[in-house]
Each structure stands twice: as C-alpha cells, then as structure tokens.
C-alpha cells in the first residue's frame, strides 16, 4: 500500500482514479459477505423442508412459490402488514417531530451537560427490554391504554427511540453554523420559522439516517409488541405474526424465510427511495461554507 501512496502523490489524477478502483474492488468483495443473508433467505424461501435439510447451500430445484402463497393465506400476513405500517408510520412521525424539537431546543438553550444527560438516558436502556416492560406494562394497564389498538405499542416505541434520535440530531444541529441562526434572529424571524426554513433543510441527511435507523427498530421489535397484543387478536404487527411460522418440534424454515422476505422487502424499498435525500444533504452542506 505504502508504495502506492507515493505513486498517487506523484501523478495526482490517474492516482486518484486507481485508488477509486481499488476501493471499488474491496467494496465489491465485501458486498458478498454483506448481501449473503438476503440471498440465502430468498433461495431458501423457494425450497421445501426436505430439500432444505438435504443440502442447505444448494439452489432450489424448482421455484416453489407455494411458500409465499401459504405465508399470505395461513399467516394472515396481509392484515399484520397493514398493522405494522400503521404502527411504523405513527411511531416514525412521532419520533421525528419530538426528537427534532427536543434536539433543537437543547442546542439553542445550551443547558449544561445535556450530552451527559442524554447519554445516561440512552444508556439506561441497556436494561434488557424484558425488565423494562414489566413496570411499563403496569403503567399502561393502569392508564387503560392496553385495550386501545396500537396506542401502547407506538407510545413505547416513541419513548424508547427519543434519547438515541435526539443525540444524533443534536450532534448534527451543532454543525449548523451559528451565524445562520443568529442572523435569522436579527431579522426578527421567529424561532419556529427559523427552524423550519433554515435549519431543517440542512439536516435532511441526518434526519433520514435517524428515520432509517428507527424504522429498522420499529419494524423489527418483537417482545413489547407481543406482550401488548397478548389479550387481543387485533392490531397485531408482522413480527408477532411471524411467530406463527416457528414451531417447537420443527421450524418450517423455507416458509419462515418466505414470510421474512415479505417483511423486509418494504424496508428495502423505503431505504432505496430515501437514498436520494442523502445526496440532497450533501449539496445543502455546500451552502454552509
């Protein structure tokens, strides 16, 4: 590598291009390691159970789309899917609005040691969900939230995600040049207006990152969703529905993989759609200088 570095400095343009190619090759090699689980799940979803056990790595002999049909018909995937979408949308909007407000206020108010307070709040969640949920469940039960559809689920998701999201957003709020905000205030534009007109457009990429991370959590959480929907057969999200595919004596892996593919495809689509905002964030950053 070190000799290459020297070469790069001598012939800048071609050297830079070589480096890009080297990076490309490394990334492509790593891609195999990172994409393999999806390919594995997708391939498995087209097999039947005996085929799966007789050679785990083999390609499916024929494409058994029956697993997908079964997943939809026996697993009530459609209904669960809708529930998951509702929970995810409400939670994400809630998390985003509340965390943006909180992180903005924290940055502007300059309350001392906010970072430490936030970190402690965040780190307190190290207690496994299992021990947090008993008191939370008692609270929800007392307040009568338990018998409402969706409400207990997204309240908890929003509450749990706020500290982490606020930390990330605050970190990026601090990179917004102070002069921009100060200038806005001399102009007399209100705090809320300056938040929406000046700061948020600069924060697009950070907000997307937070949204993607939270979506990931909200879409995949199991324990709390399972406990709060324990007494009802309504409002059950996908993750809980997936349990219907995991048997004790034997798990029908191909069917489970089909169900999982159905669960993660929407995440992929959202992720791909969001990609363009990361680029948008980059150009917006250019304004700053």
């Amino acid at each position: 590598m070190s000799t290459k570095v020297k070469a790069v400095t001598r012939r800048k343009w071609t050297g830079d291009r070589t480096l890009t190619w080297v990076i490309r090759v490394i990334l492509l090699l790593l891609t195999v390691v990172y994409i393999y689980p999806v390919i594995f799940a997708a391939l498995t979803s087209f097999k039947d159970l005996t085929e799966f056990y007789s050679d785990i790595w083999a390609l499916p002999k024929q494409f058994l789309y029956m697993n997908y049909v079964d997943a939809f018909t026996t697993g009530k995937i459609g209904e669960y899917f809708l529930n998951s979408v509702i929970i995810a949308v409400v939670s994400l909007v809630g998390i985003q609005i509340i965390s943006v407000m909180a992180s903005y206020a924290l940055t502007r108010l300059r309350i001392p040691h906010t970072n430490i307070i936030l970190m402690v709040l965040f780190a307190l969640q190290i207690l496994p969900t299992e021990t947090i949920i008993i008191p939370l469940y008692v609270e929800m039960s007392k307040m009568g939230f338990l018998h409402l559809e969706y409400v207990p689920i997204f309240l908890a998701y929003i509450g749990w995600s706020i500290p982490g999201s606020t930390i990330i957003l605050k970190n990026f709020f601090e990179t917004v040049p102070k002069e921009l905000l100060e200038a806005a205030r001399i102009d007399g534009s209100g705090e809320i207006k300056s938040l929406f007109l000046i700061v948020l457009p600069l924060m697009k990429s950070a907000m997307c990152t937070v949204a993607v991370m939270n979506l990931n959590f909200v879409w995949g959480e199991l324990m709390w969703a399972q406990i709060t929907t324990l007494l009802s057969d309504k409002g059950i999200p996908l993750t809980v529905g997936l349990l219907n595919f995991k048997g004790q004596i034997s798990t029908n892996w191909p069917q489970l993989c089909a169900a999982i593919c159905i669960v993660i495809i929407p995440l992929y689509i959202i992720f791909i759609c969001m990609q363009k905002y990361f680029i948008a964030g980059m150009t917006a950053g250019g304004v700053k200088g």
Binding site: F52, R110, Y137, Q226, I227, L231
Partner: protein, 442 residues
C-alpha cells in the same frame, strides 16, 4: 435564565414521575386483589356460571396453539360450536416466550386463561402462586379420562395444577440402512454397553459416518437419564432426587465419566463442537446420512420418519434410549405437555369448561391420530407406527433431581454435560453448591 429553565424542566420531570409512580403503586393493590380472588374460588365460580348461562360474551385468551399442528384449529372450531358465547383469542405458543409473557401480564393484573406448560416444571409458576389449584374442579367423571396416576405429574402437595395432555420422553431415531452397512444389529432396547459397542463398530466400519448426533439442549438428557437409572433400589434413587446424595458420590461421577467418554471418543457429530449443534444442524446431518442415530423425542419421531422417507431413507426405526440400569431402576426421564390456568384468571368457570373439552376423549383422539402419545384411556386407533413412539411411556419417571430448585434444574438440563466435559472439578463443585443452596431453601 438558564438556571430557571433547568429548574422548570426538573420540576416538570418530577411531576410526571410522581404521576407514573403513583400509577405503578396502585398496580400493587390490584395485584393483591387478584391473589385474593384465587383464594375465594367459590365466589368467582358463581359469578362465572351466571355469566356463562346468560349468554353474555365471555372473553378468553389461550396460549396453547402451535403452528403446523393440525388439531388445534379443529379444537377451536369445536369450542365455537360448544360455547357460542365464548370469544376465544388463541395465541401462538413459543416456549422461549411463555414465561415472560404470562408473568408480565400477571404483574400488570391482566389475565390469560389457559396456558400450555410442563406439569413437572410448574415450580416456575408455583413458587410465586401464579397457577390455579384445579383440584376442586376435578370431579371423578373428569378424572376418569386419564390413566392411573397420570395426574400425579402435575400435582404438588396434593393439589393438581397442571393437566397432562401428551407423554414426552427421549428416544433414538435410527437410520437402519447405515447400521446394516456398519454391521450393527438394531434392537429395540440397548444397554449402555451395547450402545457403546455399536458406536465403536460404526466408527471403525464407516469412517465417514458419525455414530450419533444430539442437539445442544438435549445433551443433558444423558445425565438426567443416568441420574434415574444408576441406583440399586428405587429408595436410593428417591433419596438422590430429594437431594440427600452428593453429586460427588462415586456412582454419579462414574456415570458422568462414561457419558463424557462418548464425546471424548468422538462418537458425537461432528466431533469437536458436539455440544453446540442446533436442532437444524442435527436434522440436516441425519437427513444427509452423516449420522447413524439421532437422539429425538417420541412425539417428533413420526415427522422425522416422513422427512427421511422423502430424502430417500425409507428404513428408519425408533428405539429406546440406552439404559444404564443394573438394578430395579428401569426408568427414563420424561414429562408431559399440559395445560394450567393462571391464578388471576377472571372467568374460571369458562376456562374450566374449555379445559374439559381439551382433555375430552374427542380431543385426545385427535391428538392420537397425529401420532401423539396421550396419558389417557383412548385407543390408539389404526396408527400402526404409534407403537414405537409409545414404547417407553410406561417407564417415564416424573420426578427428577432437577425439581430440587429451578437453578439446579436449568444447570443440569442445559449446562452440565458440556461444563463437565470442559472442567470436571469445578462443575462438580458448582453442582454441590446448587444442591446445598436448594436444600437450605427448603
């Protein structure tokens, strides 16, 4: 300025917390009332009956249904016909989640009405009074469905909490084709020495095939069976189960050494790492003909035979677990699946009615048709394979050293075999500590 903001935030937080804590506090009150209803079963009983008769909707939640098992949907259809006013919500049973979900719901004062659990492992719910005593409801007519003494397994201090529905015990699925190739004659029952000899023969004659495979969580079953079998008399065994014989007793140590030897000699698939094979790995290896014998449970046998037939091994047989018994202790470990009603159940009568159906002749017959072994007076029907999956059901001994305390139980079941292999001395010490702690607690 900043200080005032801080104060305000602090005050607001304190207020919110006080509110929340008050809510938690009042949670405790309701819990005691829930426990109260358990004592006054008679009172709830009356309330339940009037509710049931008036045709009002009764909501019930069950955690018993397992995926890919045909008879549960039939049960729920039937229950709908029998009790049209019951609205039953069926939740999927998942062993890893049951204790968490039921106990969390219990703490919140919400009740689940029927839960599937293991009658011989009710300690986990009983030491915090979370299971309802079913004895008052069990009349002679209801009891007559079970074979003699079958209810004992879910009975603690004379009170029956959990009703057994299937008999489960370990056995071996054998790939007979491979055994014949290795020149081993398969018998229905093996002594320990015969089993070891068979392993040795397979290893020498078929170098590519491993004599046996066992999944990670089942390795402890070797020890558990040994603990039942190595005694000269039943009295001695019961003494051990009561915790009065040390784990350092030479018979116990000798048995554990013999078991560990199987792994030292590399009979277990895949040699190094034999304690860490998941169910899927073992099944895959068995399906691929890499192992000759697979340790299994009796109620998984039928499915395994079908899978092996599809994979091209039509000649699969299920035989008994090799026994170490020299004296009168011809026992195997085993247990049951069963149903219990949590102590804070609000519609006890409705739950009992559902339970009565689930343990009726009709329900048991449906289970038998699918290859389950049931502890009930129901004929096996025309399922000809059923015999080999029920052979040892009369040998099942329901009490084990594991019941001394949940800590000891978990250790023996999940950690003992591997820990003994890696570090014999400290494992023996740990076992002794757990045994003494359990005795001290009693």
């Amino acid at each position: 300025m900043r200080k005032r903001a801080k104060q305000f935030v602090a005050a607001a937080m304190a207020g919110v917390m006080a509110l929340g804590m008050a809510a938690c506090g009042s949670g405790d009150d309701s819990k005691t009332t829930a426990a109260g209803t358990e004592k006054g079963t008679e009172a709830t009983k009356d309330a339940g009956t009037t509710e049931g008769n008036s045709g009002e909707e009764v909501k019930l939640v069950t955690i018993i249904e397992e995926p890919n098992v045909e008879y549960y949907p039939v049960f729920f259809e039937k229950l709908k016909e029998l009790y049209p006013n019951y609205k039953i919500t069926s939740k999927t049973w998942d062993q890893g989640q049951v204790e968490k979900t039921v106990k969390t719901a219990f703490a919140g004062g919400e009740s689940i009405d029927i839960v599937k659990w293991f009658p011989n492992q009710m300690e986990s719910f009983l030491n915090s009074d979370m299971a309802l005593d079913l004895t008052p409801y069990l009349d002679d007519e209801w009891k007559s469905i079970w074979v003699d003494n079958a209810l004992d397994i879910g009975t603690y201090d004379g009170k029956t909490y959990c009703l057994p529905i299937t008999t489960v015990y370990p056995d071996i699925d054998v790939n007979v084709d491979l055994m014949e190739k290795a020149g081993v004659e398969v018998k229905d029952e093996w002594t320990w020495e015969e089993f070891v000899a068979a392993c040795e023969k397979i290893k020498t004659n078929l170098p590519d095939v491993f004599p046996f495979g066992i999944k990670d969580t089942r390795c402890g079953w070797f020890m558990r069976n040994a603990f039942l079998q190595i005694w000269d008399t039943k009295a001695e065994m019961e003494d051990f189960i009561a915790g009065n014989i040390s784990f350092k007793d030479e018979r116990v140590v000798a048995a554990m050494d013999e078991i560990t030897d199987l792994f030292v000699k590399g009979y277990a698939y895949p040699g190094e790492g034999a304690f860490s094979q998941t169910n899927d790995q073992i099944k895959a290896a068995f399906t691929q003909g890499k192992i000759a014998m697979m340790f299994d449970v009796n109620n998984g046998g039928q499915q395994m035979h079908e899978q092996m037939a599809e994979a091209g091994y039509k000649n699969v047989r299920t035989i008994g677990w090799p026994t170490m018994a020299k004296g009168e202790c011809e026992y195997v470990l085993g247990g049951c699946d069963g149903y219990f009603i949590p102590a804070n159940c609000k519609n006890v009568d409705a739950a009992v009615n559902v339970l009565k159906y689930l343990t009726s002749e009709e329900a048991f017959k449906l289970q038998v048709e699918r290859g389950d072994v049931v502890p009930a007076n129901v004929s096996a029907g025309d399922n000809k394979d059923a015999e080999q999956f029920a052979r040892d059901s009369s040998k099942v001994y329901p009490k084990e050293i594991m019941q001394l305390s949940s800590e000891l139980g978990t250790y023996v079941d999940l950690s003992l075999a591997a820990n003994y292999y890696y570090d014999k001395e400290s494992t023996l010490n740990e076992l002794e500590d757990l045994r003494e702690a359990a005795l001290a607690a009693k």
